[in-house]
Symmetry: none
Subunit: 219 residues, 4 copies
DNA sequence: TATGAATGAGAGTTCATTCAT
DNA sequence: CATGAATGAACTCTCATTCAT
């Protein structure tokens, strides 16, 4: 009896695991196709076929095609924010931590998840209102994360920002800057990354310095 | 005979003018629809209807739907590069001219052509390979324009850039930065524009200063 | 052993009762959904969900979706024929009993089972051949019930009908008449029911009188 | 020149006529299929195929499948109301004209347009809200037409109706009665029509007589 | 040049039914 | 008995493009 129960439980666990796996397989199939052919040219058939399931099964796991893209954006958001959040926390309040987060994005996230970045920067743009909303929400969250980091920098380094908009401006600039840079250099060609990265960080450092009153003495 | 010819010539002129007008009407109808509904959701019938012509006529003026978007991107490119080019030429080589160009983009182009900017930044993204190509070419030209301006600054101010990539990095950053900033602040809401604009220019100025060796003494 | 058997028997009874309950829950869920959304727009998943069972379980109790509708029609038939049969029997052969049956349909069945009536009059119409068959069979039975009542009236009141078709015509008319009346007045709005009911019965009475030879003295 | 113009005009007329013909072909194809297989089992492909046009062309003439059914109902309405209206007008106000209209429906409309009647009575029932609306509207118009005829009878014969609802009740009954009768006898079998028709009219005559105060002296 | 009816491949989505657990 | 994930055929509808007039 006990073994029976255990076996059942094991079977249930396995089924649950399989379900989660299927979900992930569909998502990564979609990611691959969206990158290769674009969102519009990718059909549900394509996704089903390379996931080795029936078309209808896709609709068991996702509400519709749009929903797949939105979940993908959420995934990317989780990856990005976790990576940046960790780095912000390491040297909380210091400008170094801030620049390190940029380094992480540039050297690690973009290298490890180029497809995800491509989805976020290109394939999810201008599709449907709901996808646009998900994209915007993610960017707004990123901007807020960066604004929080900038506020901590203010307190830690005992500085002031030039205007009440400066924090939002810096955060927005940094996000746009990384968006373009990652797209321009990583997607088109992957050379001189080290040098580019350092230049970008120098640019940001210079930009931030020029929008504060006070000095960023490193501790 | 002569009078006939003259009459024909007048008629021909009128026809030519009408032809040009139709072309422009189609383009501006398309612009409007692409902004409101996006490229994919806009149909040729939509464009024909609001241009008050037949569907078939659209195909006399444009090869296909894709071609309309591409011509639109070319238009936007002409507007943007003319505005920036003029400004670069005014104070050629000086950092002020460089920053002024940014000011012009921010205060004039974005205000005057918000729909065009939206097309370039969002609706033309991730559609077809040829559209993507046109978009990329425009951005590359803008980046090159800026790189040229930066080279002139180098000569004029007698400075050096930190690395051989710096010029390209700065140009790319500036384009991406304006892309995000214009989208984030101008499209979403139009408040505090003056303050934001100055912060952005300060940021750029700081960023550039941090990527050069030498001083930007205003001659 | 015996106790075991008894326990089993109790359990079996309970299971049997539960089974019957499930069957009824499914039927009433289907009834509700068919009325609200129509037969075609109602899915098995809808029915399963509001019955709080799994989709597969529905197929244990019913052969298929069609079967659910057919059982529903049988149910409605049972309700209707029981109510009318009782009334016919009470004053067997008298025209009063005949009119009373109409009264019962109008004042009691329609009030108590508006959803069932809606199913019979609208939602079961024009769906599948088998459903149509079940519907027709029910109506034919009703017509036959009424024809039998009319025959008894003939014998009891010692009258003749004008033609050999008259009985069938009256029966058919009465069914169609109630169908439309119930739909028009009870489903759309429930006002003036008393007055309408009396008018309807007067109409039927006048109609019947005009199709017989002899007098309907209430002896 | 003139001949040219005339030829163009002729061509234009022909094209317009062809367009109207296509519209009618689609409508009659749909009518046929809806009767044979029912609304749900009929596909747009079916209709397109037997109209010898492409699927897309159907959507040039009709908004969607629902729209085809609704236009069909409108057609039926026009046929019915024209036939009845003519008859009502012939002997306006007399009970004979009223009964004659019934005769026309029974002996002519049902014989000439059995498929249309089947659509109205069965295939259009319980499909979509908009179809149901069109159906209801038609029946309501018919009921109103009959009510108007009954009012004229009141004035002409100088009679009163038993209650304020009587007119609406009679009209509703008559519509429902013909609905069922036509369906029961014409669709199932077409025998004894003459006898049935007379019985039905006698029934109606008796019913009406029993809901009025005064005498229906034939002028 | 201009027209607009016609095309038809192809898309997303639904859902009754099955069956291994 | 009950479950619910999986199926896949079938449907409606779209729309860029063509071409006879």
């Amino acid at each position: 009896m006990e073994t029976d129960k255990k076996e059942l439980s094991v079977a249930a666990k396995r089924r649950l695991k399989e379900k989660q796996q299927r979900y992930n397989i569909i998502l990564s199939s979609a990611l691959k196709h969206f990158c290769e052919k674009g969102y519009n040219k990718t059909t549900i058939q394509d996704i089903a076929q390379s996931s080795e399931i029936a078309v209808g099964t896709v609709y068991f796991y996702f509400k519709n095609k749009e929903d797949i893209m939105i979940q993908l954006i959420h995934d990317i958001g989780r990856i990005l924010r976790r990576a940046l959040g960790e780095e912000f926390r390491k040297k909380s309040g210091s400008i170094e931590g801030f620049l390190n987060a940029g380094r992480i994005f540039f050297y690690e996230v973009c290298q490890k998840y180029p497809d995800h970045i491509l989805i976020l920067m290109r394939e999810s743009v201008g599709q449907t209102p709901d996808i646009e909303k998900a994209r915007q929400e993610l960017f707004n969250k990123l901007i807020k994360d960066i604004m929080n980091a900038l506020i901590k920098i203010k307190d830690h380094h005992k500085i002031q920002y030039k205007s009440k908009m400066s924090i939002e401006v810096i955060a927005t600039i940094v996000v746009g800057l990384f968006e373009k840079i990652s797209y321009h250099f990583l997607i088109n060609n992957g050379t001189h990354i080290k040098q580019i990265g350092e230049d970008v960080l120098d640019f940001i450092y210079g930009g931030v310095k020029n929008l504060i009153i006070g000095k960023l003495n490193d501790n």
